[in-house]
């Protein structure tokens, strides 16, 4: 997967509930479920130098 950006999304209580990520050119709302392969890829991507999941706005 080619991930080009990632940013947390928050629910109505202000808690992080998902990650909005651009993966292979498509914008996905990815649940923070470690069985989800896109979330796994985002966590691996965030481990690489220079990559970071941005805080929610």
């Amino acid at each position: 997967m080619n991930i080009t950006s990632a940013q947390y999304q928050q629910d109505m209580d202000g808690d992080n509930c998902a990650v909005q990520a651009v993966i292979d050119g498509v914008t996905w709302s990815v649940p923070m479920d470690t069985s989800n392969t896109q979330y796994q890829a985002i966590l691996e991507w965030a481990e690489e130098d220079g990559n970071e999941i941005q805080a929610a706005e």
């Binding site: 997967m1 080619n2 999304q9 629910d11 109505m12 808690d15 992080n16 509930c17 998902a18 909005q20 292979d24 050119g25 498509v26 914008t27 996905w28 709302s29 990815v30 649940p31 923070m32 479920d33 069985s35 989800n36 392969t37 896109q38 979330y39």
Partner: protein, 371 residues
């Protein structure tokens, strides 16, 4: 008839159901569309199978679900070299791959002394002749085996049968994780990390690199302008014998596929029904709408959510329509239901009910829990 009256000896094994461990082996379900390219690393077109390009290979293959198929089949998956002139280098490679879920293959006992053999059969047709390989790989690539097959006659449907011995070692996924990988190599640089020497016998794998070729593999599919490769009738069954392909109903295959991917879209866009009601909402604030989609089958895990475009969605709210700016997967979503937070630009009223409509024939909402 009482079960005790059934004479098992008189039954043909081809009559037994649930032999095929592969979902969508007849390539009949294609929720994402019927044509594409290998633009990304994973390119699902027909459900459950992904086409990939690796190691920086240019996007040289067009893909399609086509109606050219052998007798008894309606569809096949087709790769077509798009005419780009290429010389393979480095770790360039391409492949067609199936990724089963661990709990569906656990009874094979792979990685133990009780490992069972399986037989893979499929129909293939290619414009170029030569040897290609199907590579089976454990979930962490610590074991692999290549079974070679030959395209004997160009542009002719041929059924291939490959028996894969049960591996007694290696790491094989369990539960809802990926069990391992079954890869039809399309091309790959010989002598590179894409090649395995484990032909017909399990051996130590690369530990990570996607394998696509053996030393005997042809790369003519990549280097021949307009070359084609088609496949359908993929069946994997326990034992050393290939039985007739087990045809399942479209509804059965669709439901199985929707465990991994579900696309909600207008049912019949060409027939004048260009819109589709998606889900009901209620407004929490003037810009936040919440709704729940009950997924048609429990998915493998909580799915990711995407939409075709915000402009393809309309939020109806009392007597007005609101402009959608984003969809978010809510924190209380599960594998069976998606809690969706729809943000609209303005104009909502807290407490009002409404609904989301997909307002274009080409619009869709997609849920992905692929392996």
């Amino acid at each position: 008839m009482a079960v005790s009256r059934i004479n098992e000896a008189g039954l043909d094994v081809n009559q037994y159901g649930n032999r095929n461990l592969i979902i969508n082996g007849a390539m009949q379900v294609a929720q994402r569309g019927t044509s594409g390219t290998l633009a990304a690393t994973n390119n699902f077109l027909v459900d459950r199978f992904t086409g990939s390009r690796l190691g920086g290979l240019a996007d040289i293959f067009d893909t399609a679900q086509v109606s050219d198929a052998p007798d008894d089949f309606t569809y096949s998956y087709k790769l077509t070299q798009d005419g780009t002139s290429v010389t393979l280098s480095g770790t360039n490679a391409s492949m067609f791959q199936y990724r089963p879920e661990g709990q569906d293959f656990a009874h094979l006992n792979w990685g133990t002394s009780s490992a069972k053999s399986v037989t893979l059969s499929f129909y293939v047709k290619s414009s170029v002749t030569g040897t290609l390989a199907v590579i089976s790989t454990s979930s962490n690539s610590d074991q692999d085996i290549a079974k070679e097959y030959t395209i004997n006659s160009a542009n002719t449907w041929e059924r291939k049968t490959l028996t894969i011995p049960g591996p007694t070692s290696g790491t094989w996924g369990t539960g809802n994780s990926v069990f391992g990988y079954f890869t039809w190599g399309i091309c790959g640089v010989l002598g590179s990390a894409r090649e395995t020497s484990n032909i017909d016998a399990w051996g130590t794998g690369s530990g990570g690199t996607s394998i696509t070729v053996t030393a005997n593999s042809t790369n003519a599919l990549a280097t021949t302008s307009g070359a084609t490769w088609q496949i359908t009738g993929v069946q994997l069954e326990v034992g050393d014998t290939a039985t007739d392909f087990e045809h399942r109903s479209y509804a059965d295959e669709l439901a199985r596929c929707q465990r991994y991917y579900y696309r909600m879209k207008p049912i019949n866009p060409s027939g004048g029904v260009a819109h589709a009601g998606a889900f009901n909402t209620h407004a929490r604030t003037s810009t936040e709408l919440y709704g729940v989609v009950h997924l048609p089958t429990a998915m493998r895990t909580t799915p990711s959510l995407a939409i075709s475009a915000t402009g393809d969605m309309t939020a109806y709210h009392a007597a007005i329509s609101l402009t959608v700016s984003s969809f978010t997967m809510g924190g209380m979503s599960t594998a069976a239901s998606a809690e969706i937070n729809v943000t609209v630009n303005s104009g909502g009223t807290a407490g009002y009910a409404g609904w989301i409509r997909i307002n274009k024939a080409t619009g869709y909402i997609e849920f992905d829990s692929e392996l």
